[in-house]
């Protein structure tokens, strides 16, 4: 033990000093360079909106040249558009019209006509709602089977990202579970809002021993999300579910940490039905995509995060897009609708909610808390956002035809995933909206 103390004294006095100084200098340069990297990254991030704002100008100038080339029938250009697959509709994506398809390259053709764009291929970029991703993935795949010339890259970053991206004109289309306030505009002018699918929001729970269909109403759900109802055998839940043997497990309410369409629907439902406990809280009376009560329970990112948490945690309850709940075979609550009946989410009960939308538009979109014995109260249409004036005629035509296919033939893919096909009047609205697409000169793209 005594020996142990000696070496310290025995250390050579000058030897370590310069070395240590060198080391400290080294580490401080490492610190500086790390900071530099972070700063550069942040600087790029902050400057990008400026860059994206500049894009439309360059696009419009180059588009005029393309349209003139298109009318002249220049079909010999061989520049490969696949290399210009960049997400933004910038000058790079402007390509010569495909050789074999006059219907696709010139304006004035019918909207639903088949369009052979086998070569060259078109790549469209979209971003938006996470909830619609299973449907989009499937429907875009089938579209690319029918029309090999078109492939779509969809980034499911969330509805608000879809809105921001289309407003800044960095994608070909955005998608949001909640339409933007009309009249909608962005850096590229007027934005059209096209309903593309009908989905529901499930309140899924993980409660071993209790099967699906536990009945919940607005005030009870509000109590859970306000942190006032904290155990599963709370009298409020027991009163709604006579005969069900409820455990005393602690309730873990889980919500989206990011903004979300499902959160907006549930907020709207709780504002309608949750009573003054909800509306007098921080939630207020205006529904919001950002979940209003952030100091209760657990927040997770995207549907996948919420679903993953429910799966792992006994006692958890959370809201997820029905398609995700179906995929994970969750047990879902039956919610009370405006007629007083308790309905579980299913393809038919969500379709019944969609049928309520007799006068649907981007400013009159809510189908939450509908009436009818079989109507599920938490449902919504998903809205695809595109610019009315398509700066690149060819891409505009491709995009219009794609969305028309999605809202008609593509709806057959919906039910397998837990979405419901669009009602006929909504399909008609989508068709009507797409017909108003224009080229950069303001001429209609379709007849």
């Amino acid at each position: 033990m005594q020996r142990g103390a000696d070496p310290r004294r025995a250390r050579a006095p000058q030897a370590p000093r310069p070395r240590r100084r060198a080391l400290a200098a080294k580490s401080s340069t490492v610190a500086l360079s790390l900071a530099a990297v972070a700063i550069l990254a942040a600087a790029c991030g902050s400057s990008s909106p400026v860059a994206s704002k500049k894009k439309p100008h360059t696009t419009s100038s180059s588009t005029t040249s393309t349209t003139s080339a298109g009318t002249a029938g220049a079909s010999t250009t061989t520049s490969a558009p696949t290399t210009a697959a960049a997400a933004a509709p910038t000058a790079h994506t402007v390509t010569a019209p495909p050789p074999s398809s006059t219907a696709c390259s010139t304006s004035g053709g019918p909207l639903s006509a088949t369009c052979d764009t086998q070569s060259p291929s078109f790549k469209l970029a979209g971003a938006g709602a996470n909830s619609i991703q299973p449907f989009f993935t499937r429907v875009f795949y089938y579209y690319s089977q029918a029309d090999k010339g078109v492939s779509v890259n969809y980034s499911p970053a969330g509805s608000s990202v879809g809105v921001t991206d289309i407003e800044q004109n960095t994608v070909n289309f955005g998608d949001s579970e909640i339409p933007i306030k009309t009249p909608a505009t962005g850096t590229g002018g007027n934005i059209l809002q096209v309903p593309v699918d009908l989905g529901g929001v499930a309140l899924s729970y993980n409660l071993p021993g209790v099967s699906g269909g536990l009945k919940l109403d607005g005030p009870t759900l509000a109590g859970i999300y306000l942190g006032k109802i904290t155990s599963w055998n709370d009298p409020a839940i027991a009163a709604l579910n006579p005969g069900v043997n409820l455990p005393s497990t602690t309730i873990v309410p889980v919500r989206r940490a990011d903004s979300s369409g499902p959160g907006y629907d549930l907020d709207q439902y709780l504002i309608d039905t949750g009573g003054s406990a909800w509306t007098s809280s921080a939630a207020g009376t205006t529904p919001s995509t950002k979940w209003p009560i952030t100091n209760v329970g657990v927040g997770e990112q995207l549907n996948t995060g919420v679903a993953g948490f429910i799966q792992q945690t006994p006692g958890a309850i959370g809201y997820v897009e029905y398609a995700y709940s179906l995929q994970a075979s969750f047990t879902n609550a039956a919610l009370e609708n405006a007629s007083g009946s308790f309905v579980k989410p299913s393809q038919s009960s969500i379709a019944a909610a969609g049928a309520q939308a007799t006068n649907l538009s981007a400013s009159n979109f809510s189908i939450v808390n509908g009436t009818g014995a079989g109507t599920y109260p938490l449902a919504n249409f998903s809205w695809t956002l595109i610019y009315q004036k398509q700066s690149n005629t060819t891409l505009g035509v491709v995009l219009g035809k794609l969305l028309d296919w999605v809202t008609t033939t593509g709806q057959a893919q919906a039910s397998a995933l837990g979405y419901s096909p669009l009602p006929a009047n909504v399909t008609a609205l989508a068709h009507q909206t797409l017909l108003s697409l224009q080229n950069s000169a303001g001429k209609p793209l379709f007849s």
Partner: protein, 332 residues
């Protein structure tokens, strides 16, 4: 050229004035020296300009929030009657707690590993092992976050957290329901992420301790462990501390991995098991969807707060190191 170079080695001991004079002479002798000096200065200036531009743009875009809330933005951050509340104080507490947990977990393991690699491990084991540790540094944050969410979280909810709750004294830190996502889990994930920094830098510090020190300790009869404890680690202390400061910087600013495992609850944590939020996780959860105006300005305000905290930690660390170096210099 080569003859002058040869003449310069070994460098003669010069007074500062003489050194500058000689440097000037040398610059005249070698025309390349001047253009290199220009390059050097331009590089340094560009660098300073980037930092300055970065700070100015951040301050400009967050000015609306600070104008609205004043200095109270640093703790309350609230600006709206009903929604869009940024409880900055809660995020700061969360940031400090998770960083503390990460440091407490990572420093003993990291320094221990570094000591093992530099002093004890046979060569055939040391080099593959350090490659493995460097690989952790190469794993993207989102992957670490996913691993924390999918693999660690259930383990924490069912084994680790209930275990800590049973220990009598620690119970105060670990009460409340065990969900999985928590301050503890976030700190653990951060510990994994900062481990490579600590190991790599501490190892460099340890290996650069003079062999004479080791031999001297040996000669005095110290065992292998005593050599490390009394001669090597004290000799490398400054370097180890520098590594911890760097690691702390990373832990303070981590965003996505933390957002995935912390539970994003904007309330003051009552124990290490409660879900919470950090500045980084709050920024990433709110920035993409922030509306232009006060909303976005407030999120950028959080970035400013984070920048201030990180800068304070770094400057504090540098001052500490400098003082220690000076003290040691005085002794020696």
């Amino acid at each position: 050229m080569s003859t002058t170079l040869l003449e310069e080695v070994p460098p003669p001991r010069l007074t500062p004035v003489e050194g500058v004079k000689q440097g000037l002479q040398r610059r005249q002798a070698r025309p390349g020296g001047r253009s290199y000096a220009v390059l050097r200065w331009t590089g340094a200036m560009i660098f300073a300009a980037i930092v300055l531009a970065f700070v100015i743009s951040l301050l400009a875009s967050s000015s609306q929030a600070f104008a609205h809330s004043g200095v109270s933005f640093f703790w309350s951050g609230t600006y709206s009657a009903t929604k869009d509340i940024y409880p900055t104080g809660i995020f700061i507490v969360g940031t400090l707690i998770t960083t503390a947990v990460a440091i407490i977990l990572a420093v003993p393991i990291g320094v221990g590993t570094a000591a093992f690699l530099s002093e004890f491990a046979p060569k055939w084991l040391a080099s593959p092992l350090s490659v493995l540790i460097d690989l952790i540094a190469a794993v993207p944050s989102i992957v670490v976050g996913l691993w924390g969410l999918l693999v660690l979280s259930p383990v924490f909810a069912h084994q680790v957290e209930p275990f800590f709750k049973k220990i009598p004294v620690l119970e105060w830190f670990f009460h409340g329901p065990a969900y999985g996502p928590s301050m503890l889990l976030a700190g653990t994930v951060l510990a994994v992420m900062i481990l490579p920094t600590i190991v790599a830098l501490s190892r460099t510090a340890l290996t650069s301790v003079a062999n004479e020190d080791r031999e001297a300790a040996r000669a005095l009869g110290a065992t292998r462990w005593q050599v490390v404890r009394t001669a090597v680690v004290p000799g490398a202390r400054t370097g180890i501390e520098a590594s911890v400061i760097l690691a702390m910087g990373r832990a303070l600013g981590e965003t996505i991995a933390v957002a995935m495992v912390i539970g994003n609850n904007y309330a003051l944590p009552h124990s290490l098991l409660s879900p919470g939020a950090t500045l980084g996780s709050a920024i990433i959860n709110n920035f993409g969807e922030a509306n232009p105006g006060l909303d976005k300005s407030s999120v950028i305000g959080l970035v400013v707060v984070l920048l201030v905290i990180t800068a304070l930690v770094n400057i504090g660390g540098q001052l500490l190191l400098r003082r220690r170096l000076r003290a040691e210099g005085a002794v020696a």
